[in-house]
């Protein structure tokens, strides 16, 4: 990012760019974990409800066991997010060495 600050000749822009050396962005957590976790929980809750849905509820949804299917879909999506962050963890984004110039 140094090659940029030469060009940005505006003092306010340069100053903020310089402050970025202190950036704590590398400490950021991975959002995939949160999305995965929430959807696994939603999937389990809604899927379980779907298992025990009464005839009235299935009728309301036009005969589709929507809770069961939606629950399974959300569970699968949640597990996918967790697996993705497991298999491809983020590389801390800030260090200069990470850049291939």
């Amino acid at each position: 990012m140094d090659q940029h600050s030469e060009r940005a000749n505006d003092p306010q822009v340069v100053e903020t760019e310089n402050e970025r050396k202190r950036s704590a962005a590398a400490r950021l957590f991975d959002i995939r974990r949160v999305i995965g976790g929430l959807f696994v929980v939603y999937g389990v809750i809604v899927g379980l409800v779907g298992l025990f849905d009464s005839a009235a509820e299935i009728d309301k949804a036009q005969g589709v066991r929507i809770n069961l299917w939606a629950g399974l879909a959300m569970l699968a999506f949640g597990l996918f997010m967790l697996a993705w962050q497991w298999l491809r963890p983020v590389v801390p984004p800030t260090t200069e060495e990470a850049r291939e110039v």
Binding site: M1, Q3, H4, S5, R7, A8, N9, D10, Q12, V13, E15, T16, E17, E19, R20, R22, S23, A24, A25, A26, R27, L28, F29, I31, V34, I35, L38, F39, V41, Y42, I45, V46, V49, G50, D53, E57, I58, K60, A61, Q62, G63, V64, I66, N67, A70, G71, A73, M74, F77, V90, P93, T94, A98, R99, E100, V101
Partner: protein, 552 residues
Amino acid sequence: MDGAGLRLNMNVLDYGILALYFVTVLGVGFAARRAIRTSVDFFLSGRSLPAWVTGLAFVSANLGALEIIGMAANGAQYGIMTVHYYWIGAVPAMIFLGIVMMPFYYGSRVRSVPEYLRLRFNRPTHLLNAISFAVAQVLIAGVNLYALALIMQALLGWPLWLAIVIGAAIVLAYITVGGLTGAIYNEVLQFFVIIAGLVPITVIGLVKVGGWAGLMDSVRDSKLGEAGLHAWEGTGSTANPLGAHWLGIVFGLGFVLSFGYWTTNFAEVQRALSAKNMSAARRTPIIAAYPKLVIPVVTVVPGLIALVTVKGLGAESGDLVYNNAIPLLMRDLLPNGVLGIAVTGLVASFMAGMAANVSGFNTVFTYDIWQAYVRKERSDDYYIRIGRIATVAGVVVGIGTAFIAAGFSNIMNYIQALFSLFNAPLFATFIIGMFWRRMSALAGFWSLLAGTLAALATYLLYKAGVVHFNSDLEESFWGAGIAFVTVAVVAAVVTPLTRPKRAEELQGLVYGMGGIDLKGDVLAGDQVWWRSPVLLGAIALVLAVLFYIPVF
């Protein structure tokens, strides 16, 4: 209207799902706090996020509930023609932003869209834009909040003030604490929750009407008739549901309105500026274009389903107004469980929309108003503090302005009216300034001002009944077009009379002046062919054209 007819039968479980969502978004906000040390961390996520995160946040920021409810309403009212808002009214502009404009935004290291105007033109242009943007964002945040409260009152029976306070307090908390990262991370989460809430409505709705073929048949028999199934057929005149000529659709919606919104709206562009490098920044709006291509399936299609399954939809007032298309389907089709997910999805979309406005506002207020004109040269920490105060103030003012929205029947049109006032002249100023190096600083100011006034005058004359348009929508097409032309004419007249900017001042800001490095900050892995912004953009455009074929 007391809304009792819309009341959903929410049980403990549904409320549990909603509560879990509230806890999660707050948790994300607080967890993002530890990654904030500098003002760029707070306002631009330290420019560190990967493209898929910023891309989904980009689309989510636009996926406010006004958008979802409004587009379903449009689907019921105008039929398939509503897809124009997506395929011609969004995707081309998003691709253009990524491929053509992002190198100037991201490459010049500006911290906001108004800041680009300060460097390209002068401080009066900058101040004009910063103030109009800040005002617009608070207004729109207020509109979002009011709509949230109305829908919570109708669906859950919550009093208006309670819904306003809860909605505002949560958004306020996660942005004040977690900064832009809090907003963006939650937008990604909200994107998936919104989709999870809308898909069951669409699926069950389609089952009910007998699938796609059954839906087409029923729409033919509805009040829309055959015209409700075609996007372009019948646009040779204005005798179609939308009342728009194809020229109006292509140039008004597809060019002036959509480019104005997507390319210069900082609440959107901010997501791309938080990307970790130039390649990711350019891919941000392009990645967002892909969900945008298919979102009509869960907005326009439910609108059509509501049209054919809800008797009497399209009333002037009461429970059966078009805007209730999605809530009515939720009431009629969803059992407890997915009902909780759908309500959560709706709440999530309100928050996504409002958070985008608030995070755009606090950044522009701090960097472009406070730091530029009120208190210069303070420490970086000082500006983070100002940003947090601005967030609180913005939300409070947003609550106050929420009631402006009350006077309008179709919320979407109101938003469009605001856009045509601020965005179209801004886009014209940007695009001319980016590609015509001679355009002087004074020309920038006068054309932006004249363009905004022209749009405002058109709007007011229409509202006062002096000028006649067929619909609010047609007014916004024309208002935007008139503003665009005004900017171009004023720029052409003023520029030759005023001093040009020096060449070195324009480096990195204007096409053909050098200073843009598309590869300088490339990361390992960015070079693979499927991460090329141009290729990804081209594919999205081709898809947009292909999608039109079955609904021509």
